[in-house]
């Protein structure tokens, strides 16, 4: 801890920090927990998808308080846990007023770590409809920045044909504490003909999941979280990290595979390891990554090559082998691929051209692969962590780190398990309609889109 860091975290330091607008960050709600207060459902237009999905989730709902212009402005008696607004029937600019009228009392009356979820259809239709769809995006992002106390907001674009079975894993994730550090984001849920089943406690029961870079940090958290959800973990890391890797593997009851993912036969080695287990390979989480930070002016070919190879090219080579139907131990149809992008990749970050290239490349890769693999029901997604408290971020100098950490709507860094929970959601068999998405786990970081 540097002296400066101490000044911030000491008592007088905190007093000064509070005056400067740096308050103690709100406590986030985590895990498979529901909001404490009531879940309020508002419907604008004649859509009922959210209502039916909440029923499937076994959540009772209450009616919204509507700001009808009366004085004083009507409000909720007790704090509400969440507001879910179904705007699938919203098509005109005047209808946006109906949205405002339910949002206003809700943002005032929402509990700490509460949720606002807007369920919309993807942008389509006439000029006005498409303009309105985009307006929702602006509303969502702004609410995220205005909400306090760790409450978050999410905009879901749900396909016209989607059923409650298609939406259940997504709405469950967003409302539960698992989405603690996902804020101000929007993503798409396609129709995927999923059965009308509620959330499973252990959705990954007995499914084989490979996690690279699993010895420490986010990778170890991913292994733990997915194992909690029932997965059989194949924990992969470089041989020198073997002792920590063995500890993680033994802790989650999985297997350790010491492997340099940049080796030419890495994909084959993973497949052979999986093939022996006699179980199909359900998912690969390409978490392994490195940084070799330098300003571009000082970045030589070797710094460039090693980061791009480990963070991007290696997973492409491995995917190629695992997606070959001839590979024994390769990815099964209906499987999952998850890459790790980064807000640095999406927004750029000084001193990280190589890293940003590799991580933006991951985002591009999943967007490109998703449609091609739809036929095999393989979903391909990425998560883009913002500032997550790990060994890697610990090396950033204090002032810069504190700025990064606070530069989001939740005023704090995320935890490795926040990334892990989001990956668990993407791996859920019921998340079949979620593919080609890059979900940021960044507390709505101020930088980037």
């Amino acid at each position: 801890m540097s002296a400066l860091e101490k000044a911030f975290t000491s008592k007088p330091g905190k007093a000064i920090a509070a005056k400067a607008g740096l308050k103690d960050p709100p406590r986030l709600r985590r895990g498979r927990t529901w909001p404490e207060g009531a879940i309020v459902l508002a419907e604008i237009g004649d859509g009922s998808l959210a209502r039916r999905t909440l029923t499937l989730l076994g959540r009772s709902v209450e009616s919204p308080v509507v700001d009808d212009g009366g004085e004083p402005t009507p409000g909720y008696g007790a704090r509400i846990g969440a507001l879910v607004v179904d705007v699938t029937g919203l098509t005109t600019i005047p209808q946006l007023e109906e949205l405002r009228a339910v949002l206003r009392p809700a943002v005032k009356g929402i509990e700490r770590a509460g949720r606002i979820v807007i369920v919309a259809h993807p942008s389509a239709g006439d000029w006005e409809q498409r303009s309105v769809a985009r307006a929702l995006d602006g509303i969502n992002r702004t609410i995220g920045k205005e909400l306090r106390g760790g409450a978050t907001t999410t905009l879901l674009h749900v396909a016209q044909e989607a059923t409650p079975g298609d939406l259940v894993s997504t709405l469950g994730f967003v409302l539960q504490g698992r989405s603690a550090f996902v804020d101000g984001q929007a993503w798409t849920v396609a129709a995927a003909e999923q059965p009308a089943e509620t959330l499973q406690e252990r959705p990954l029961e007995d499914r084989v999941v490979v996690v690279t870079g699993a010895a420490r940090g986010i990778g170890a958290a991913i292994a733990r979280t997915l194992a909690r959800d029932g997965a059989r973990i194949v924990a992969v890391d470089i041989p020198p990290a073997g002792e920590a890797l063995a500890q993680v593997a033994n802790e989650v009851g999985g297997t350790a595979l010491q492997l340099d993912i940049t080796a030419a036969d890495a994909g084959a080695a993973i497949a052979a390891h999986v093939a022996r287990s006699g179980r199909p390979l359900y998912a690969v989480v390409h978490n392994a990554g490195i940084t070799r930070d330098k300003m571009l002016a000082n970045t030589d070919a070797s710094r460039w090559a090693s980061v791009l190879d480990v963070n991007l090219a290696a997973q492409m080579r491995i995917n190629e082998v695992l997606l070959d139907p001839a590979t024994e131990g390769g990815l099964a149809d209906g499987g999952r691929l998850v890459g790790i992008a980064s807000t640095s990749g999406l927004a750029g970050n000084k001193g990280q051209t190589n890293y940003a290239a590799s991580k933006a490349g991951v985002a591009g890769l999943v967007e490109a692969m998703a449609p091609d693999l739809a036929e095999r029901s393989v979903t391909v997604n990425a998560v883009a962590p913002g500032f997550i408290e790990t060994e890697m971020t610990g090396r950033i100098p204090f002032v810069q780190r504190e700025i990064f950490r606070r530069s989001n709507s939740l005023s704090q860094g995320g935890r490795p398990e926040d990334v892990a929970e989001t990956i668990g959601y993407l791996l859920d068999p019921r998340s079949q309609g979620v593919t080609g998405q890059v979900i940021r786990v960044c507390g709505q970081n101020l930088v980037g889109a």
Partner: protein, 422 residues
């Protein structure tokens, strides 16, 4: 009643020179690390394994139940039983044979063999004189008797005693014994240094190939065998002074194994169990033999494996040419060379009761991934290092490939075993 006992794989920690990075670690610590790595590799956390057999040559009295205590510190189910065995440097191979036999007999489905030694943490014991005086004092009925018993302690009794490195019956150290053998069989300095250099080069190449990625797990920040010198050469080795056999001796620190710390484990199971549980099947355990020579009567101390090899090959109807690979433990370079000469010696072999010479070995098949000169030799661990290494090498060569392991051990003993790739 009869099952195929197969090798699924192994795990060891990198070996290191005594007094090096593991200087403070005990046998318990070293073996727990090796076992936990094996458990992780094969997903055995919480599993009840049929039995774990392990052992150490240099052992503290408090470690009387070493292997069982290690199991309790490991991620295996605490309901896993364990036993300790000891057959000097043959321990790690003997524990493997013990487990393989139990599997073959259907007594267990799956078992782990292991060996560990720490020359850094060797037990220091009190002298016999002191021990007897203390026991007398303990038995004493009166204060006077006790005082008399304690008065019998002499200063010389108080000197701590390091573990015996000399053969109890000859008073010669292993190196001194081997020096006699080296001279008797006319083993030259250069061929010893060549064998030592080859051991380092082979081991280094195997590390570079990633061969050990699924055989070794790092411990205490050590990720690779620490004794290994990839850049050694016959020229460099030629500069070393003799360590055994007097000023004219040919045995040096470079062509003799270093005192080492390390631990190794191997996972064995019936072929059925391995297949049902989705485990790799590298090789089948075929047969084993143990022999001993009369070294107090003048026989070569470390040539015990010759008789064992001869009898085992005769029983199996095999010749050296039937083996794709042969592992001869490199206690000293000259041990390996004398062993090979003895194999070819008609008279010597007949003297052991064999029908004739065992035969000549194609040296290209010998210790192809390096052996003890380069890796080090934590006594009881070496057999459990070689066994899975050979199984993996044979598996790479394809089904039916046979391999032979030959290990010399103190007391003039030899342990040999045959594996066949599946």
């Amino acid at each position: 009643m009869s099952h195929n006992a197969v090798v699924i794989g192994g795990n060891r920690i990198p070996f290191a020179k005594a007094g090096g990075p593991y200087a403070e670690a005990s046998n318990h610590d070293l073996l727990t690390a090796a076992l936990d790595g094996l458990v992780a590799r094969f997903g055995l956390a919480g599993t009840r394994v049929g039995e774990v057999a392990g052992g150490a040559v240099l052992k503290h009295p408090k470690d009387f139940n070493l292997t069982r205590e290690v199991v309790l510190s490991s991620a295996l189910s605490p309901a896993t039983p364990a036993c300790d065995l000891q057959q000097a440097c043959g321990t790690g191979l003997e524990t493997t044979i013990y487990i393989a036999n139990k599997i073959a007999l259907g007594q267990i489905d799956v078992g782990i063999s292991a060996g560990v030694d720490s020359a850094s943490d060797a037990p220091i014991t009190v002298s016999d004189g002191l021990k007897r005086a203390l026991l007398r004092a303990n038995r004493a009925r009166s204060a006077a008797e006790r005082a008399k018993a304690l008065a019998g302690i002499r200063p010389r009794h108080l000197a701590p005693q390091a573990p015996g490195v000399a053969e109890p019956r000859t008073g010669l150290s292993m190196g001194e014994h081997q020096a006699l053998t080296t001279e008797r069989w006319g083993i030259g300095r250069t061929e010893q240094d060549e064998l030592a250099a080859a051991s380092h080069h082979h081991l280094a190449a195997a590390w570079d190939d990633g061969f050990f990625d699924d055989l070794v797990t790092p411990y205490l920040g050590v990720a690779k065998d620490a004794i290994l010198r990839p850049d050694t050469s016959v020229e460099k080795l030629a500069k070393l002074k003799p360590a055994f056999g007097g000023p004219q001796g040919t045995m040096t620190a470079g062509n003799s194994t270093a005192l080492s710390d390390g631990a190794a484990t191997a996972l064995l199971a019936s072929e059925e169990w391995a297949r049902e549980n989705g485990m790799p099947v590298l090789a089948r355990f075929v047969d084993a033999e143990v022999a001993a020579v009369d070294h107090p009567g003048g026989d070569d101390l470390l040539l015990g494996p010759v008789a064992a090899t001869g009898r085992l090959l005769a029983r199996q109807g095999l010749t050296p040419n039937d083996f794709a690979l042969i592992e001869i433990h490199e206690a000293f370079a000259s041990t390996v060379l004398a062993t090979l000469k003895a194999w070819e010696d008609e008279d010597y072999c007949r003297g052991l009761g064999l029908d004739g010479a065992i035969g000549t070995l194609d040296r290209a098949r010998l210790n192809v991934a390096g052996s003890s000169l380069a890796a080090g030799h934590p006594f009881a661990a070496t057999g459990a290092r070689i066994f899975p290494t050979l199984a993996k090498l044979l598996h790479e060569r394809g089904p039916g490939s046979k391999g032979l392991i030959s290990m010399c051990a103190a007391g003039g003993q030899g342990v040999v075993a045959i594996l066949e790739a599946v």
